[in-house]
């Protein structure tokens, strides 16, 4: 049977098992939207800005483990999507974005709402396509989902000219995808796995350092915990890796890096074997490179060969899917029946426990004092039993969320780790709440970040998403202010907002519930009310201590063991 391009689009999404797409209509995608109107295989969520469509797809993908899908129109629709694509690319989140394009006959004519979308998004996507013939559409969509969800996941964009959506051809959906140029490795090289097992058993001071790959890979998190338990090895997570190991597990040292814990950074600096699992030695993790883990041999497990030995030399690289390679490694260790040197490990743990005694995240809330932002997050943690889906924006609040909300499970912490996109939080929470309707979704944000995608409150209201937005309002761009305080002699250049909206009233204006919290004794009531709300979104505008800093902090260019701890 002959189908139009728009019908093929709908049919392909149905066959890919898509349940939900986020989008915004416009001229070039009108025919597709007409077919979306006529079908009931998947829901379409109307956002208020294309950037939000991509963040929502990202949030949906990260919570559900499925591919996020977005659709935008040509020109400004596509350019607005770029930030969201770049965000998913930096954090390796599987998303497919469809963009409308002017008709093939008009391409290159500077037509109305024309942009060179494939050119613009080339470096913001894992791959992109311009569909030039309707006969190629089904195959292209199939490949797009395949590329987005396999290997190191990432965003893929499919640009569809309007005439293609109207033209007809025989619908032929390829059941399998075979690409000679794209064959991601899944299993680790057995010889490398054996060598890794030997190194693990010989290590006296091992540390496992895991990142986003341990969260996104199937079984990555459970096998990480299994490996740590088997070896009795300490584990630290990157920002993207939080939740891969339960926050209260005794092997867990907290996050490492610029705002990592004292014990995690000291352990990494002093270990003799560092096992990187689905992590990429980002500059926010390593600090000064030539002083990073200088005494350690490095085993690096990653699905992306280009991440290995990019910043830090790997003595033993293993290319493969984290979950699969960890299983191979565990099997190998079990087969060997040997244990690592228990005396050496005991001494190593004793040293780590000493570091933990520093209690680097200690933060005392004075009864009559201003509300400390860290205290807000501690109370949110208590109120949700550590089970909420926490979505953040970017800045101080993001680091406090990472430090003071230990997660029980993977796929519960959503944050813009690589790109650092202010404005990510609220739209990502839309997708997260839809992926896990029975979970409590909390956006932890700041007064700066929240203003970058506030319009999505309208979407939250329209779809009755009971998202809790917690604004840690200090009137500042807090992280900028902190750097200006510490490194620019307190010249607070444009980091203070002389004008802020009344966020509680703003919430009411959008149809939600707004609560302003200015005193400590109002905090628990507000949180409890938010946790009980099941229908409407709620914004808690919490006035917090204005000049609180994030500690510990490794200053830019310093080594991990040169971190600055909170003043006593």
């Amino acid at each position: 049977m002959k189908l139009t391009g728009a019908q093929i689009f709908v049919e392909c999404l149905r066959r890919e098992g898509v349940e939900l797409i986020f989008g915004y209509p416009g001229g070039a995608v009108l025919t597709i939207y007409d077919e979306i109107f006529k079908q009931n295989h998947f829901r379409h969520v109307l956002v208020r800005h294309e950037q939000a469509a991509l963040h929502a797809a990202n949030g949906y993908a990260r919570v559900s483990g499925k591919c996020g899908v977005a659709i935008v129109t040509s020109g400004p629709g596509a350019t607005n999507a770029v930030t969201g694509l770049a965000d998913s690319y930096a954090d390796s989140v599987p998303t497919v974005c469809f963009s409308g394009q002017v008709p093939t006959t008009m391409i290159g004519n500077d037509a109305f709402q024309e942009a060179d979308t494939v050119g613009i998004t080339r470096s913001a996507t894992k791959h992109n396509f311009l569909v030039k013939r309707v006969e190629d559409l089904a195959k292209t969509i199939r490949q797009a989902f395949h590329i987005a969800t396999t290997g190191r996941p990432g965003p893929v964009l499919v640009d569809i000219p309007k005439d293609i959506t109207n033209e007809r051809c025989l619908f032929d959906y390829p059941e399998t995808v075979e690409m000679r140029s794209y064959k991601p490795v899944t299993h680790g090289h057995p010889g490398q796995v054996r060598r890794a097992a030997k190194m693990l058993l010989e290590a006296k001071r091992p540390v496992i350092y895991s990142g986003g790959g341990a969260v996104s890979s199937e079984h990555g998190a459970s096998r990480l915990l299994e490996l740590a338990t088997l070896l009795n090895a300490p584990v630290t997570n990157t920002l993207m890796g939080l939740g891969a190991i339960p926050g209260d597990d005794p092997h867990f040292l907290g996050m490492l890096g610029m705002h990592g814990t004292f014990e995690a950074n000291m352990a990494v600096s002093n270990c003799d074997l560092l096992v990187a699992v689905g992590a990429r030695f980002d500059d926010r993790v390593t600090g000064r490179l030539d002083r990073f883990a200088t005494g350690a041999k490095v085993i690096h497990i990653d699905v992306d060969p280009s991440s290995i030995s990019k910043n830090v030399h790997a003595h033993l690289p293993i290319v493969g899917d984290v979950g699969i390679v960890l299983k191979q490694l565990i099997d190998e260790l079990v087969r060997r029946e040997r244990k690592a040197d228990p005396d050496a490990l005991a001494a190593w743990w004793a040293t780590i426990h000493e570091w933990q005694q520093r209690d680097c995240l200690r933060c005392d809330q004075e009864r009559g004092g201003k509300i400390k932002p860290q205290e807000v997050i501690r109370r949110l943690h208590a109120a949700t039993n550590g089970e909420a889906v926490v979505v953040t924006d970017v800045g101080q609040h993001q680091m406090w969320a990472a430090q003071y909300y230990p997660f029980r499970r993977p796929r519960r912490f959503l944050t813009s780790g690589g790109l650092g996109t202010m404005g990510y939080g609220l739209p990502a929470a839309l997708g997260a709440q839809m992926a896990a309707p029975d979970s409590r979704t909390i956006v932890i944000t700041g007064d700066g970040s929240f203003q970058m995608c506030t319009q999505e409150l309208a979407t939250a209201f329209q779809y009755q998403l009971p998202i809790t937005v917690v604004i840690l309002n200090n009137g500042y761009l807090g992280m900028v202010r902190q750097w200006q305080e510490m490194f620019y002699q307190q010249r607070y250049s444009h980091s203070y907002f002389d004008s802020l909206p009344d966020f509680a009233k703003l919430a009411e204006a959008y149809g939600g519930i707004g609560i302003k919290v200015e005193q400590l004794d109002q905090l628990d009531d507000a949180i409890n009310r938010a946790m009980a709300e099941r229908e409407r979104f709620m914004v808690l505008d919490i006035t917090v201590a204005g000049e609180e800093n994030v500690y510990p902090m490794v200053p830019a260019g310093a080594a991990l063991d040169e971190m600055v701890l909170a003043p006593e």
Partner: protein
């Protein structure tokens, strides 16, 4: 260190931009790049000359392989290989220099491909170093214009560089 990398890619629009974009985005330098379809017209072959230390060359190879339409790469500088480049050069040739130009062409075994009353256009194929030397010798006589292809290269010996399964 100079490295010559050969690359097999899907012969589709945009591949060249992806490769060039990779080099500019990551700050790698690209000395020359030549590309044309192979006998299998769905596959193109590139020869890419770049410079960098071992670490950078390793990253370049990995990043190239990460591009979806790249089928395979090989750093032929690490093997016994040959490289050839072609140059077209138009040289001033008036009364007293006409014979000199032809003598140079003869020495380098270049071909005369075009003649006018005041110029010769010569074609020469060879290793980059030979082309450089040829141009050096012609410069004092007066080069009007010149274009080089950048080298293409392959391994020596019987082993081919092809898409697997072909």
């Amino acid at each position: 260190m100079r490295h010559t990398i050969t690359v097999l890619v899907e012969n589709e629009s945009g591949v060249l931009t992806r490769v060039a974009g990779l080099f500019s985005a990551r700050g790698y330098n690209i000395e020359s790049l030549s590309v044309a379809p192979t006998l299998d017209e769905t596959v193109s072959r590139m020869t890419l000359v770049t410079r960098g230390d071992e670490h950078i060359i390793e990253q370049i190879n990995k990043q190239l392989n990460k591009l979806i339409p790249i089928i395979k790469t090989e750093d032929i500088s690490r093997t016994s290989h040959m490289e050839r480049e072609l140059v077209l050069v138009k040289v001033q040739a008036k009364d007293e220099t006409r014979a000199e130009v032809l003598r140079m062409a003869d020495v380098f075994r270049a071909k005369v491909v075009d003649v006018s009353d005041s110029s010769y256009t010569l074609e020469l194929t060879g290793k980059c170093g030979k082309i450089d030397a040829f141009l050096r010798m012609l410069t004092p006589i007066g080069i009007v214009e010149m274009t080089r292809t950048g080298p293409v290269g392959m391994r020596r010996g019987c082993k081919g560089f092809a898409v697997e399964g072909k």
